[in-house]
């Protein structure tokens, strides 16, 4: 079965970025973690086996101290540079 890719866009409390990053880096399903400037503070890309697994993962992320808000975007279709 095809894997499910998703972006989790995160806002954190001021001064907690390093702590949140450390906790996120312990998540096996995270393939990229980007510290960002703009509407969101952290963007995490995850690869999971199912939507249920994604639900459990977001639940886990919500429990990390310092996270104010998360917005999850499930990837439906993707074009990479090489396919372009």
């Amino acid at each position: 079965m095809d894997k499910v890719n998703a972006y989790i866009l995160i806002n954190v409390k001021v001064g907690t970025t390093a702590h949140v990053f450390n906790e996120l880096s312990k998540i096996d399903e995270a393939t990229h973690i980007s510290l960002t400037a703009g509407e969101f503070d952290i963007i995490v890309r995850v690869t999971v086996n199912s939507l249920e697994e994604l639900f459990n993962l977001t639940e886990k992320i919500h429990k990390i101290d310092g996270i104010i808000k998360t917005v999850t975007h499930v990837v439906e279709k993707e074009l990479s540079k090489t396919e372009i």
């Binding site: 095809d2 894997k3 890719n5 998703a6 972006y7 866009l9 880096s25 096996d28 995270a30 393939t31 990229h32 973690i33 980007s34 510290l35 960002t36 400037a37 703009g38 509407e39 969101f40 963007i43 690869t47 917005v71 999850t72 975007h73 499930v74 990837v75 439906e76 279709k77 993707e78 074009l79 990479s80 540079k81 090489t82 396919e83 372009i84």
Partner: protein, 411 residues
Amino acid sequence: MILLRRKYLFYTLALLSGIFTSLMVATDVWITVRVVPNPYVFALCSFMVGSIVHVLILIIATAKMNRKKFIGTVLDPNFLGFFIPKNGLLKHLILAGLGNAISTISYVYVVALTQDPSSVLPFTNLVTAYLIIGDLMIEKEKPVLIEVHAFFMIILGAILVSLSRGIINLAGLALVLGPMNLGTFLYVYEQKKARTIKIRGKRYDSINLRVWSLLFTTIFVIIMAPLIVGPESIVLSIVISIAHFFVIALDMLLAFFAYVLYIRALGMGKMSVVNALVSVSVVISLPLTLILAWVFPDVYILPDLSGVFGLVRIIGIIFVFLGMTALSFSEVVGYILIKSRPGSGSKLLKKLSTIKGVEYVSATAGKYDYIVRIKIRSLGKAYENVLQKIIKIEEIIDFVWISVLKEWELV
């Protein structure tokens, strides 16, 4: 799980590949001096033994570490287990094998033809210039000036470091600049193409890629070499391969690591940048050869470091490092989160994907309809090449630019 800064991962892979390459070259010298003096037979032995070693590695890599993961995922997280290539992927691997075979046979011919091959072999570093053209073909984007400066600094530095007192043999030089470098170009280009093909949502892994391209190289070398040195070379190669299996196997094991790391780096950056970084092997080879020449004076020749030659080599090393530092100037990475008009679908996906600097476009379900990942040389270029194009797309209602300050990637 290890998460590494993406930039560091790219440079670490390319530089580690350079280190393994220099160790492999040192082992090559040992084998040609002590075991197989005939370069054609050496090439045949390397690929015959190499095929066995690589298939064994593939079998070991396919074993499971725990219920979920293959052992091979330690080396490449994309490893999918034993995978037989088909269609387009198969074509890329066959062409990569052909390129490698042409390059190898040309190398062997140069070694056999010229009295002092070290006077012309440094010009193999010029293959980076060929790869810049290849990058233009793949990425349809001109390299920026600082990249071109850095490439030439590294190429010239690598040539200076490996210069010898020998007289340049023009036929040998023509062979290096012609079939040898073109073969290498084809080899790298097709590997890059193969690496970027997606299988079950992941890039084709470097372990399968290396193993299959080597198997095709072996087939082409077995066809080509006897045409030059006669069919008896095959029998001789089999005999030598059996007699000296372990030392040749060690050489090919080093080659495996050098190439797997190289292929992984190829999947992350431009061919010319990866190749330029791997050129660091000539700098690493210098102290390595000094130590080896001291321990085994009958096998390794002490590099000439006296007078002007010593100075030239130091200038070469400075050039290589200056070039690498210039290349490592960080790129601007960002995400654009897009809200679109209903019904814009695949038309918008295509429009977004044609914008220069776009790495990938994901159509998503959520607050935003598309997440676009951008990688570009400067913020100025991001404005000219990306934002100016985005604002002209009528299907886009609103968008948000998010700059990436630091990034980690699963190793």
